[in-house]
Amino acid sequence: MEHSETLTREDTVLVACRIEDLPPGESVRVDAAEGTEAVAVFNADGELYAIDDTCTHQDASLADGWLEGCTVECPLHAACFDLRTGMPSGPPAKRPVRTHRVTVEDGVVRVHVAAPVGAL
């Protein structure tokens, strides 16, 4: 995974939402901060996951997608990604999305976005 090589870099921490605004089955898009790309946070049956929001197949927001178990299906061409690994689990996507760490503190959901490879 790309981001594992960048763990030594400073993560960008984004506030996603309050936990009560992200019930099971729901998702939220967190718009890009400087030096990051937009991410999508999902509540898959109580577990929170964050991945890059943009499908690697074509420009579409995965936060708008269809969540089924730990898989999100892109709303544009039905490409599927495993939220745990970011790996495509169905065509037509062939490249993974990055995964990001999610924390909840005092009811606030935060995403720790790894710096993109090559960023300073």
């Binding site: 074509q58 997608g65 269809w66 709303p75 544009l76 061409h77 065509p91």
Partner: protein, 399 residues
């Protein structure tokens, strides 16, 4: 079961091979495909591929992981007959394949204009259908010479090509024999809204007038309609639907009325023979009839269920598994259209949010006060919520 032949090497055939391995089958898999190409994705053919924004390589459906499927690929070979009890498949190259189990995934082919001759096979040059990658390459080449383009049929393929050709700067006219485009899948009201996308962008849509004849000699020069109107054309795209590729099964004894008839799982009446994808008409408990769809997601998902039925064997008994909720999408003029559910004539339509005039809205189809289907135009998030709700109802029908 030691050998399985999958007939058809597009999305459904590849999904079947993957499902066989994912479900623990470790025997031989022979994958027979009439096109010489490895499986590729068709939806971009009417969109970015026509604009050369997507390459042939990017269309490939297979990845390096598929090496582990250990499939015996028989590409460029057409299956011409099936002996269903021997499970013996005759091939166009004179060979044959015998297998313990057969997955029929031969898809569908573009319908051609009656009397116009098949494109590239004695028909006029400049007249195209769009189904295969080679079709798309030929259409792309023809569009390069400029317009005007006449699209016959305002269904999804025709509408997408019209939108793409307009983006390429061509003069485009759409002709539709029905009074309202897309009235079959969407109903007249919403069909008219979709047709409005063309007129929004200055593309005329001539409805309710059939085509009388194509004009020209070796190359098409125009289209004459039944009312005498003549439309000049450098290229004609015929998008009038698809027919299931079941001719090769004519003597098999299988029921092939509008597709290979199967139960809800994909099993045919013949033991150890299943069918999936565009060629299959599977029984759907919701509407309580056999339904043949040409949806990408069905071609992807039906094989999982069909392969499970194949591996369980005919004595496992029919379970009540239902297929996924029907779902399809289209993109035209930068607008994303999504539809899910099982609409029937007579369903009422309620605008849940947005405004059709703005080309951004969500419409819910209802029957007896219950939602049956949902249509979204540039409303992916809302659409997904409704699709989830309908899918839950859909699954509940069979439990």
């Amino acid at each position: 079961m030691r050998s399985v032949a999958v007939v058809g090497a597009s999305l459904a055939g590849l999904a079947a091979a993957r499902a066989l391995r994912a479900q623990g089958y470790d025997g031989g898999i022979t994958l027979i495909g009439d096109e010489p190409r490895a499986p590729y994705d068709r939806p971009p053919l009417s969109k970015d591929f026509l604009l050369s924004r997507t390459s042939t390589e990017e269309l490939a459906l297979t990845t390096d992981d598929d090496e582990s499927l250990a499939v015996d690929w028989r590409l460029g070979t057409t299956a011409t007959a099936l002996d269903p009890y021997e499970r013996r498949i005759t091939l166009s190259d004179g060979g044959e394949v015998r297998a313990d189990g057969v997955v029929i995934a031969t898809g569908a082919r573009a319908r051609t204009l009656p009397g116009a001759g098949a494109p590239g096979a004695g028909g006029m040059s400049g007249v195209h259908t769009l189904r295969t990658l080679d079709d798309a390459l030929a259409l792309r080449e023809s569009l390069r010479s400029g317009g005007p383009l006449v699209v016959i049929g305002a269904g999804f393929i025709g509408s997408e090509v019209a939108s793409t050709a307009l983006a390429a700067g061509l003069d485009v006219t759409v002709v539709e024999a029905l009074p309202v485009p897309l009235a079959g899948p969407l109903g007249a009201g919403m069909g008219a809204v979709c047709a409005g996308l063309h007129t929004d962008h200055g593309v005329p849509v001539l409805c309710g007038v059939p085509v009388r004849e194509l004009l020209g000699g070796a190359r098409v020069e125009g289209v004459r309609l039944a009312d005498g109107t003549v439309l000049p054309a450098a290229t004609v795209l015929v998008g009038i639907g698809a027919e299931p590729n079941t001719d090769w099964l004519a003597d098999s004894g299988l029921d092939i009325r509008d597709g290979v008839r199967t139960d809800a799982r994909g099993a045919t009446a013949v033991p150890h023979v299943v069918a999936a994808g565009d060629c299959a008409a599977s029984y759907q408990p919701g509407p309580a009839r056999h339904v043949r769809t040409e949806h990408w997601t069905d071609a992807l998902r039906q094989p999982e269920t069909a392969v499970r039925a194949l591996l369980a064997g005919p004595d496992a008994g029919a379970d009540t598994a239902c297929g996924p909720l029907p779902y399809f999408w289209s993109e035209q003029y930068g607008v994303r259209i999504q539809f899910a559910g099982a609409r029937r004539d007579g369903d009422s339509v309620r605008i849940e949010s947005g405004d059709p005039e703005d080309r951004s809205f969500l419409a819910v189809y209802e029957r007896d006060g219950r939602p049956t289907a949902v249509l979204g135009m540039d409303q992916p998030k809302q659409f997904t919520r409704w699709r989830r709700r309908l899918a839950a109802d859909w699954a509940a029908v069979t439990t």
